[in-house]
Amino acid sequence: MTVPIAILLDGVLYAAVLFLLAAGLTLVYGVMRILNIAHGSLYALGAYTGTALVLAYLSTGGPEPLMYLALLAGAVLAGSIVGPLVERLLLRPIYAREEVVQLLVTFSLFLILEDVMKLVWGVQPYYVAKPYAYLGTVTIAGVRYAWYQLLLIAVALATGVLVVAAIRGTRIGRMIIAVTADREISTTLGINVARLFTLAFTAGAILAALGGALVAPLIAVAPGISVEAIVLAFAVVVIGGLGSLEGAALGALIVGVTRAAAVYLLPEAELATVYLIMVAVLLFRPRGLFGELEMRRI
């Protein structure tokens, strides 16, 4: 009985991280119609800054529970500095260009950020197990599980609820819905689309960085985590339907649990199963589970 429970717990944990990543990716796509290949790099950036801030904070010898604040601060800092910079300098000049060009620009950004992170933090892996070890473990139905992992799932859930509430319930959120539906008409209604783009991209960047910072205590923070993250995040948003937050949540659950099951039952096929599911979903729903069919434009 322990294996199914372990699969479920690990699956939900993967799903929590994937959701934070995919929510940002899908938000940016929904608003700006740009698929950001560098999204995984923002996740890695969050992992690095979070780790660096926690390590710096711990070396000052302050009270230990505050290290969680340092972790969060790292993510918010990384996202809110890099996000607006990238949007203003790189993406703004190419909104009118073809999709292919936009993909290539974010791919270039991915390449640049990879090396920038290597230059700043080197290639040796960083470990910051303190936030993980501090909370101890709990036994759920015979499976030992860390409290930190449960905390992570809770934070991801809360973030998801918060993002949905912000989009549905606030003035800016409603403007985002309007811009997603029709950019031109929104402009005529007096919505400052350019400012909204900066805001949406920054929010997406913070979500990605948050995912990275939260997962950092569980993994070795090293070059290569961004590639792994973006490859899975793509699968999640494509399964769920690009531009849909509900889709991102469902996609994250599907990919997370599948991946956990594969890790336990058929480790050779870990990545392959995720993508086979994605191809299977697309065969029957070409725009993903929650995606909307686009009108053909003459």
Partner: protein, 323 residues
């Protein structure tokens, strides 16, 4: 092709034939590699001209290379011509299968699905250790070329000329394809595919045909790269490898026939210098260069030829101080 361009192509071909006899061995090696990879870049450029970008052509590149590796190691085939034919057929067959599914998609979905499938191929190559050797890859021994086994001294030149003898026809075939009826349909698809359908042409079938041709070309590139490097690894199917090919296509200028060749040669030489002097900033340099080209030089490096051909007017214009 105008008379002037035909003459230029002949001069370029003659130069490529003569170069390894005049220059040191390492130049010949880099050129072999550049020629081999230029065929994959050509495959990417063909799709780019139809407005499609593939972040997964590494899978066909790897299909060609692994066909050679497995046939050599497991079956004992050593004849280069046979191996090349097999590599092209396997890659084209793979593209024919994947294409059935992928030719339905455009834009981001086309790019990302290619990537997804190539990542599956990558993980299979990585995990099937008993067959593919996993991360160790497969070593490729000296091939027999048309019944002759090149000796140690002539091996490098033999592989160079073998590569050249297959690369130039590949460029010719693509040029013919691009100027065929199907090629014109693809140009139209890029502009407005709904109108193409109204004219009674199947967009799906046109893209499918281009995709199979493109897959076969990428396979040929994989075969030739396998021969010249002598070793193949699963990373050939990894999405960043595919991204590199896309980069080179943009660098050279996908709209021009020689673009992939020019881009490929420039790229291999840059890379060999960069790995020596700027190992840690190599990707950054690539990314920055791609940004500059996309934002300021959409025609790629080949644009420079256009400027020169127009009597250097653009140069004069761009060097004028901005008042």
């Amino acid at each position: 092709m105008s008379g002037r361009e035909g003459a230029l192509a002949l001069v370029a071909a003659a130069a490529l034939v003569a170069v390894p006899l005049l220059l040191p061995g390492w130049v010949a090696f880099l050129l072999t590699l550049a020629l081999a990879k230029s065929v994959v870049v050509l495959a990417i450029a063909l799709l780019l001209r139809a407005g499609l970008v593939s972040f997964g052509h590494g899978m066909f590149f790897a299909a060609g290379a692994y066909t050679v590796g497995l046939l050599m190691k497991r079956v004992g085939v050593h004849e280069a011509v046979l191996l090349t034919a097999a590599g092209i057929v396997v890659a084209a067959a793979a593209a024919a299968l994947v294409g059935l599914f992928i030719a339905r998609y455009r834009g981001i979905f086309f790019a990302m699905l290619n990537m997804a499938i190539s990542m599956v191929v990558y993980s299979v190559l990585l995990k099937l250790y008993w067959l593919t050797g996993g991360t160790d890859g497969i070593g490729i021994r000296t091939p027999v070329i048309l019944g002759m086994t090149p000796d140690r001294e002539s091996l490098r030149l033999a592989i160079y000329y073998f590569t050249l003898a297959l690369t130039l026809p590949a460029f010719y075939v693509v040029q013919r394809f691009w100027n065929s009826a199907l090629g014109f349909v693809l140009r139209a698809v890029r502009d407005n595919e709904v109108r193409v359908e109204y004219m009674g042409t199947s967009v799906y079938r046109s893209i499918y045909a281009a995709y199979v041709l493109s897959g076969g070309l990428a396979g040929l590139g994989g075969v030739l790269t396998g021969f010249s490097v002598g070793h193949i690894v699963p990373e050939q199917a990894y999405w960043t490898t595919s991204g590199e090919f896309v980069f080179v296509a943009v660098l050279g200028g996908p709209a021009s026939v020689p673009g992939p060749l020019v881009g490929s040669i420039a790229f291999e030489f840059l890379k060999s210098y960069a790995s020596k002097y700027a190992a840690f900033t190599w990707q950054m340099t690539l990314g920055a260069a791609m940004l500059v080209i996309i934002l300021f030089m959409p025609g790629g490096l080949w644009t420079i030829y256009g400027w020169l051909a127009r009597g250097g007017r653009r140069w004069a214009w761009s060097s004028k101080p901005s008042a």
